[in-house]
């Protein structure tokens, strides 16, 4: 393969990887606190993209206002979802919560089909993100350059929040031991709600970036990215923010590079991440950066 093609693929992998990381962070934060796979995360991602779409087209807002509004509303929606679908099951077996999450995911998808219509919509172009940038022999959309910057910016802010603020301390406490955290006068429900809010904000941001990169919206668009980003979070070690970023990049790179070097495998692209997941789970179930968990009697 000639070097310019390689660098082109590298640029693609970098932007896809950071997009995956962004969404995986949301998964990992929710899992870290609730020990729950938020199956609806991919659908929240879809909602974020659609809200931005409607704000820009139906309400004719400038793109930045539309993005902020969509992200904020999706964050609120995430909190609402937690309240309605997960909070009533706080003390139930994990399987019940997971079934509720699957139900919520299907509900949002099908509501999406009913409200937004099943036909794909094309995301309006934003000139700032939509210009082709040439770096030597590599040409990429400018959004692909913004995505890694945004992801690392967010990673930095999140790590500050989680490690150096009181709220972050409360989050870590709840994730370590809910009961003990409650005894320390931490409002557990508020912390969980906040975590869901942040996770959903990131999902919305990811959804908007995604639709600028692949400008076609449909109500089921969140399923595959949702699954893949969950896989990214598991590979990196679920519950660990760094792990999510690592897993996201790893998945993005492997996906792009395998197809680039072995085009015969193109049809297997979607299976690739699952194979990777199973390999990781077999070798190191707690993920690359995860802590080993023991079962207590």
């Amino acid at each position: 393969m000639d070097p310019s093609l390689f660098f082109q693929q590298l640029a693609n992998a970098l932007s896809l990887g950071s997009l995956y990381s962004l969404i995986a962070i949301g998964y990992t934060m929710v899992y870290g606190i609730l020990r729950l796979i938020n199956f609806a995360h991919g659908d929240v991602f879809m909602l974020g993209a659609y809200m931005a779409f409607y704000a820009m087209t139906s309400l004719a807002m400038p793109w930045w206002l539309a993005f902020v509004l969509a992200i904020a509303l999706t964050g609120l929606f995430g909190m609402l979802l937690e309240r309605a679908a997960y909070r009533p099951l706080r003390d139930s077996p994990r399987i019940s919560v997971m079934i509720s999450a699957i139900g919520a995911s299907f509900l949002i998808e099908n509501l999406g089909v009913v409200v937004f219509g099943g036909r794909p919509k094309s995301f309006p172009s934003v000139p700032l993100f939509d210009t082709v940038v040439n770096l030597g022999s590599v040409s990429v959309l400018s959004v692909s350059l913004f995505i890694p910057v945004i992801t690392f910016g967010i990673l930095f802010v999140l790590l500050r929040v989680v490690n150096h603020t009181k709220t972050g301390m409360a989050m870590r406490a709840v994730s370590t031991d809910v009961e003990a955290a409650r005894l320390m006068a931490i409002d557990v429900n508020k912390v969980i709600s906040l975590t869901f809010g942040i996770g959903s904000l990131l999902a919305a941001l990811g959804g908007i970036m995604w639709s600028m990169k692949y400008p076609q919206l449909n109500p089921l668009m969140g399923i595959m990215p949702g699954l893949k980003c969950f896989i990214a979070a598991v590979i990196g070690g679920i519950g660990n923010i760094f792990g999510a970023v690592l897993g996201g990049f790893l998945l993005g790179f492997i996906e792009i590079m395998v197809i680039a070097f072995l085009p015969a495998l193109t049809g297997y692209r979607d299976a690739l991440s699952f194979v990777l997941l199973i390999l990781v789970l077999l070798v190191k179930p707690s993920g690359l950066l995860g802590k080993k968990q023991t079962v207590k009697v």
């Binding site: 796979i37 009533p88 509720s100 299907f106 009913v114 297997y268 199973i278």
Partner: protein
């Protein structure tokens, strides 16, 4: 009491068979198809319940095993001419070209193939727990689906298979459903069934009592895969076309819905719920079409039906986790206790 119950059971089975014969004669093709579909869903729901309700293994990879069963049995039973018609892009591999087995032989083979796949997957996957297990099984079923889509000369890829012999008659599917119920009933009463429940309720305690937890899980997983394969095969022979898109997570969701609504760990719950949900799914098709709601009219909202079903699932999980039956069974004794049986000699709620 025992004698009364056996007599009642025999009468009920005879009545059900009679009703089926009557329905088979008098109902139109469409109505009969739905009735038969519910029989297939009984097989599927019981098989997922075996895993989910009786052994406590939450698997989301259900549709993958159905796909294996459906494809195997379709390929074994289609006549060489039909195969040639199907595989126009790339010819079918020669060794499958001339297989033309009778349907009733192909079905168990389909089940065995699905079970074999299940066994292979079980070894690595069953070391995982809870949500990891769920996501890994989901991963495997996606892998199976992608493999089927890409194995053009074996499965005809994305085009799928058409003109599968339509051999899932009323008696075949309801016979399969009856066998599934019988198998589950015998299993739950056996010591092996109790072992499974022990694993479900407390894995560590079961292990401490000397149960080989891993083996129990593998057996349950394999048996469930077998039933899923049979169910998938029956489904293929009923709708006569299959393609990889049919076997997505959506299908797993439908079966999961039935199991949860009926009650995790209840055989009769699964049976009742399979019938009710299948009928409801058809009855509510009007929701997807144009609606006239007195105040306003809609022009057809595809998806509304699934909204209702997802809501139903969530409401049941949140407000009545046990579903319709919990892990209890509908039995003659219970009916008698509820005063629903005529009090014969001394029977009833003694």
């Amino acid at each position: 009491m025992k004698a009364r119950n056996s007599i009642l059971t025999a009468v009920a089975i005879a009545a059900a068979a009679g009703l089926l014969a009557l329905a088979d004669k008098n109902l139109g093709g469409f109505a009969m198809r739905i009735l038969n579909l519910s029989a297939i869903y009984i097989v599927l729901a019981l098989s997922l319940n075996l895993l989910n309700g009786f052994t406590g293994l939450f698997s989301l990879g259900y549709s993958g095993f159905m796909a294996v069963g459906a494809y195997v049995s379709a390929l074994l039973t289609m006549s060489p001419e039909v195969k040639e018609m199907n595989f126009f892009l790339e010819p079918l591999v020669p060794w499958l070209q001339n297989f033309n087995l009778p349907f009733l032989v192909a079905i168990p083979i389909a089940g065995l193939c699905a079970a074999a796949v299940g066994l292979v997957i079980a070894a690595p996957v069953l070391r995982l727990r809870d949500d990891y297990l769920a996501i890994a099984t989901l991963g495997f079923s996606e892998i199976i689906r992608v493999l089927i889509t890409n194995a053009q000369s074996l499965t005809n890829g994305a085009q799928g298979l058409k003109n599968i012999p339509k051999t899932s008659t009323t008696w075949v599917v309801w016979g399969a459903a009856a066998l599934a119920v019988l198998f589950m009933a015998l299993l739950t009463r056996s010591s092996y069934g109790r072992t499974m429940k022990a694993v479900r309720d407390d894995e560590i305690a079961a292990e401490a009592m000397g149960v080989n937890v891993f083996r129990v899980k593998v057996v349950s997983f394999t048996a469930s895969s077998f039933m899923a394969g049979v169910g998938g095969a029956l489904l293929g022979h009923m709708i006569t076309t299959i393609d990889p898109k049919m076997f997505t997570f959506m299908l797993t969701f439908n079966v999961l819905l039935i199991v949860v609504l009926g009650g995790n760990g209840s055989i009769t719950g699964s049976v009742l719920s399979a019938i009710v949900v299948t009928l409801l799914m058809e009855a509510m098709r009007f929701l997807d079409g144009p609606l006239d709601l007195v105040f306003f009219k809609t022009e057809g909202l595809p998806g509304l039906r699934m909204v209702v079903f997802s809501l139903m699932l969530m409401i049941v999980v949140i407000f009545r986790q046990r579903g319709l039956m919990g892990d209890k069974e509908l039995s003659w004794d219970r009916l008698a206790k509820a005063g629903l049986l005529p009090r014969g000699k001394k029977g009833g709620a003694a």
